[in-house]
Amino acid sequence: MGKLWLICIASISILLPFLCNAFSPETPTDRRVLVLLDDFAIMSSHSLYFNALKSRGFDLEFKLADDPKIALQRYGQYLYDALILFCPSVERFGGSIDVAAIVNFVDSGHDLIVAADVNASDLIREVGTECGVDFDEDPSAMVIDHIGYAVSGTEGDHTLIASDDFIKSDVILGGKKIEAPILFRGIGHAVSPANSLVLKVLSASPSAYSANPKSKLSTPPPLTGSAISLVSIVQARNNARLLITGSLSMFSNRFFRSGVQKAGSQTKHEKSGNEQFLTEISKWIFHERGHLKAVNVKHHRVGETDEPALYRINDELEYAVEIYEWSGTSWEPYVANDVQLQFYMMSPYVLKTLSSDKKGLYSTSFKVPDVYGVFQFKVEHQKLGYTSLSLSKQIPVRPYRHNEYERFIPAAYPYYGAAFSMMAGFFIFSFAHLYSK
């Protein structure tokens, strides 16, 4: 009995690290998230946001950022699947976490949410730089907007801004339109236009600028207008998803519950759009929307079912692939009309849009071009907010065998006719010659 218990515990403890992987199609549920805080008051002041995450099945573990016992991995296995940094003023992480460890964590495919704030430490700024965004260099700068600020009874320096300049993407922000503007109070950051992986989800209005509200403005501020990003997302090439924002108070219960009226507009919204916005975007961050997988790539000649090892030029062939999207609980068929297939050898000889049967099966048929060589079936699907699909399957194409050419060339029929008529003429002539007098 004791031995059985021992074996059970041993096997479970061996398997347990493997259960805490990054989002993978085999283990997509109930993931462990490490939340690093400046102080535990944030747990209660931001409880609405954390409860929303818990209700979706995430195991949150709250730790102080300088707790000496925190670690992201032990013995080479990661202990958590995602990391939330709600510690804008931490100078040095405790335990074995540092910027390099966080970068490795993301590089291995895990998700990250970073919230900076006013007077954010250099460490958090460094994390932001590693993620691809640049916070304002002035540590006490805030985003100020004298035209798009939120009308409120108390704060009068226009640092509480109401923004509704969202990115246009149903995948990232959910299908339902966010009616009320978002309350934001914090620092802004800029996104390099050369970086194609970072997207501005919430931009400041053209009248915003980033400066210290308490000091006089002597030089023009470096960050102005819509170039200021309030909330950015990054989808890395290994499909890790990151969220970076400059306001921790955006996640707070106070902002979730408060009403909002944008200056200059008559409509007063009962509830700000913060809760809907952040809930939807964290669904995207944790892969509950927009995560695709492509399985079952099949190709065969028209009329056959098994996959040949190579094709011949001018063959008719069919290609099919199944694409599914993770919905948070199960894999649903992905429906789109712009998944394309390339028949590629140095350049695409054939480019066809795959037609979907609405159940996740995408297929098309085409004729192999009149060129022989080693081709690839390539599907490159990169859409805003979705994971990128990059499938490639190599297939050789051979020329005609010597007995696959047409036996008689139609263009040469007159010559065949002439040769045979000469033979017939010779035959008739020889009779005529012999039997004439």
Partner: protein
């Protein structure tokens, strides 16, 4: 009584004399001439076709034209050897000439069928 006829009347007289002389040739020679004419005509048709369509299966074109030209040449040789007015081949029996003609044609058509594709 020298130059009383113009060039046009000269050509007409030449043509008439040729026609009357040709009418006097034996029948078997006329048959050979007919055969040669048929062969050359077929060759011309093929050349015109190639000029229109292009020389794609060039081997077929060559084979077709060669069969026509080859049999024409062999028929001309037969006519020379069979013609009784020809002093050179006085001692050659016409059967021998015909046998040579048949054998050469056999070889020619063998080559043609091979090259025709």
């Amino acid at each position: 009584m020298g130059r009383t006829l113009s060039t046009k009347e000269d050509a007409g007289a030449l043509f008439h004399s040729l026609r009357s002389a040709y009418a006097a040739t034996p029948v078997n020679l006329k048959i050979i001439d007919l055969y040669v004419g048929f062969a050359i005509f077929t060759a011309l048709i093929q050349v015109v076709y190639m000029a229109m369509v292009g020389s794609f299966p060039f081997n077929s074109f060559l084979s077709g034209v060669l069969s026509c030209v080859g049999t024409a040449v062999l028929a001309v040789c037969l006519r020379i050897q069979v013609n009784k007015e020809n002093k050179e081949f006085k001692d050659l029996p016409p059967e021998r000439a015909f046998a040579d003609f048949v054998l050469c044609n056999l070889v020619l058509h063998l080559v043609i069928m091979n090259f025709l594709g």
